[in-house]
Symmetry: C2
Subunit: 275 residues, 2 copies
């Protein structure tokens, strides 16, 4: 059981930042990654559909015998955490709550910003998760629609990304936030650009790192860690085009992404089979 | 000039965690890494010798035409920053001061812990760097001699590292530190193990991440960033055995470490040439 892979699911590529954290911090663990790139992005879809697609993908990972599930997609985390915990016998970790807990732990002035895609911003998933915060805590959410495109184009430094970041972050700076949640798994690749714009007084909370911490805790406490001499084998699955996935995934995560295989999942299955 | 590599110097392998941050956050930049593994560790050596060895290595990187220098070694940072700034025309970034600034920015209760090798602990390099902190700030330093050995053996999760970490961290927990500086560039690979032991109320400050932030700022402000279409070429140099370096470096940083070449530097040169 303990040599079984950790299943990491995302609608696309962002979850690879979570996988990168797992590879760095848990070098004996195998990762089975599934990106539903044929149906990405999930954000603009109705929640019932996000739930359906997510459970189809998670089912596939569970069929492969994973020992734990990581939902590394903000839209999916908001939609299916409760369902997934009920449905699967293995532990389930997601990206929103670990980041919220971390932000509450680190803020000094109680002013917390959240940046995300437009869809996550509109879903109010982060604001809802702060419901139990004391009245002294103020949370401001900001949509940053261009960040995903910039990250996927490899533009994570230089004048363009700095200018875009300045525009998006200005309203949060005016509110004097001292803590910023990176509420999209693409954004850890913008860490230094964001820190540059905000200055070092502002604390960045990476949902990728917070999620990896949660996973580490769950595996340790459940006795599910692989042995120290386990030679990990990583597998990369996409519902879309394996070549396109391979190219971007290597940029996101590195050369550990070797062969990419196509996964046939749900209706993506039918659609792709018909091509 | 801007396509020139960033020179990253360490006495051994730890600086690869800084190089990893550069690869992730500045994907268009080339890295020229030099690990003085023939003469590592620097920590136990007299400061004059650390200075001599470090300047020999930094000279070699400058001869290769690097556009900036990163001193990714705590012992070397303490010993040669002032000399290096005087000696070289390119910007010089090191690991101690960025971590101290970051810790001052994030602590909430003013109680800051520093973990490091025995040599860095004894050098009081971190304590000296906190000299301007207000009297409300208390800094406690703790030597963690076994961590480097565990990281180099790939033991970053599981009961052994957790137990060792509990022992080392207990005195800092008794002092109620809310911020912990990882004062050795090996330690970012223990992030999740340390966070597990300390709980999420404690903030970890990675000198690798803080240094990468400093480098990002320096390159951006000096107009030294590579163009967005630059295809980076990384080079890995060691004064020691290239095969041994290759093995550990891939575990520290990943498969981006391809060919490793031997660098002949200073007396290490003579010693190796005589073999």
């Amino acid at each position: 059981m303990t040599e079984a892979p950790i299943g990491v699911f995302d609608s696309g590529f962002g979850g690879l930042t979570v996988a990168r954290e797992v590879l760095d911090q848990l070098p004996h663990e195998s990762v089975l990654y599934l990106g539903d790139t044929a149906r990405t992005p999930y954000g603009p879809r109705p929640i019932a559909q996000v739930r359906e697609f997510s459970l189809e993908c998670l089912d596939r990972l569970v069929e492969h015998g994973v020992k734990a599930l990581v939902i590394a997609c903000n839209s999916a985390s908001a939609a299916v955490l409760a369902d997934a915990r009920e449905r699967y016998a293995v532990p389930v970790v997601e990206v929103i709550r670990p980041a919220v807990r971390r932000a509450m732990a680190v803020t000094r002035n109680g002013k917390i910003g959240v940046i995300s895609t437009a869809a996550t911003h509109q879903s109010r998933a982060y604001l809802d998760s702060f419901v139990a915060a004391p009245p002294s805590v103020h949370v401001a959410s900001q949509a940053c629609p261009r960040f995903v495109e910039l990250v996927e184009a490899g533009v994570t430094s230089g004048p363009e990304v700095i200018e875009v970041a300045r525009d998006y972050l200005a309203p949060l700076q005016e509110r004097d936030v001292d803590t910023l949640i990176l509420g999209c798994t693409h954004y850890p690749l913008l860490t230094q650009a964001l820190q540059y714009v905000l200055g070092e007084q502002v604390q960045l909370v990476s949902s990728a790192a917070a999620t990896a911490a949660d996973l580490f805790r769950v595996l340790t406490d459940s006795g599910l860690l692989a042995a120290q001499d386990n030679e990990p084998v990583h597998q990369w699955l996409t519902t879309g085009d394996p070549d396109g996935f391979h190219y971007l995934a290597r940029r996101f995560l590195g050369p550990e992404v070797e062969q990419v295989h196509r996964a046939f999942v749900g209706r993506a299955d039918e659609r792709l089979a018909a091509q």
